[in-house]
């Protein structure tokens, strides 16, 4: 057991911003997400009910699409592979997340997601030498204004 020593090749990635992703929030994607969570809230499942609500259309649960940003927008595996190529250990675990929500996301919204690598640290955990990466993703609506900000920590070990 030892502390993971972060190589220079990874240290220099801190502060970098990933290619921005633009994606449209689809009704079907919201419904599939809600079903996968087991969230029966009609605002996320029932188009007619949602149409009668103050939002007027299907609402996405807070934290949709979450991490990783949908695979059709952001390829997490490619991002992780980039870190591994630069020297990160192969194992991957999600460590946790901090969200701040500013305005609700609904079907047909177009979101712009920008992910920035905030920090990369070396630690020793029960998994062995571990690298902890913190990334911050800001989701902005095309129609204007921030929708939410997500700070995610994950562990390579």
């Amino acid at each position: 057991m030892a502390v993971f020593v972060v190589p220079e090749s990874l240290k220099k990635m801190v502060g970098q911003t990933e290619e921005p992703i633009v994606f449209k929030v689809e009704e079907g994607a919201i419904q599939r997400y809600a079903r996968a969570v087991g969230d029966a809230n009609p605002l996320y499942n029932d188009v007619e009910y949602a149409a009668q609500s103050k939002w007027g259309r299907l609402l996405a649960p807070p934290a949709f699409p979450g991490w990783p940003v949908k695979s059709d927008g952001f390829d997490m595996i490619k991002f992780i592979e980039k870190l591994i190529k630069a020297g990160a250990p192969m194992g991957l675990l999600d460590g946790g997340v901090d969200y701040e929500f500013f305005s609700p996301v609904a079907a047909d919204d177009t979101l712009l997601a920008v992910t920035k690598i905030e920090s990369i640290e070396g630690r020793e955990t029960k998994l062995g030498p571990t690298m902890i990466t913190t990334v911050e993703t800001t989701f902005t609506k095309e129609s204007g204004g921030r929708a939410f900000v997500m700070r995610n920590m994950f562990l390579n070990f």
């Binding site: 969570v37 946790g96 901090d98």
Partner: protein, 155 residues
Amino acid sequence: MAEQTYYEDVEVGSEITPLKKVATTRMLVQWAGASGDFNPLHYEEDFAKNLGVGHPIVHGALKRAWLVNLMTDWIGEEGRLKKLSCRYRGMDYPRKMKNFDEPQDGETWWCKGKVIRKYIEGDEFLAECEIWVENGKGDKTTQGSALAVLPSKSK
């Protein structure tokens, strides 16, 4: 959906209405498809074993989504979730399926929480909550906090 929760209804120590969840291998497949997280750690036995976690584990992000579910059910349509944080403290292993729809007997998870502070800031009536996911043994495998904006009867 439960009844609307108002700021005046909650006190420090008030319990968030608990939410029951049963993680199954099927649910994990469904989550992978819905979230786009195709890490084999969550569905491939040998892959999980080689990484030292024993068996495929429940996605942290799914447990996070359960906690969002816990909070939004409690907050109701007139309130909103302002913040949510969580940390994954322990591994959870899904139940296997008995048939297409039903899981085998096994562990049940509970999402729980309680109000730890209530305050008014600007024009917002806020409830700060401690939240967690508890496994079948009563261990808190995911722990976090949430900040809810609740409607007020005075407005």
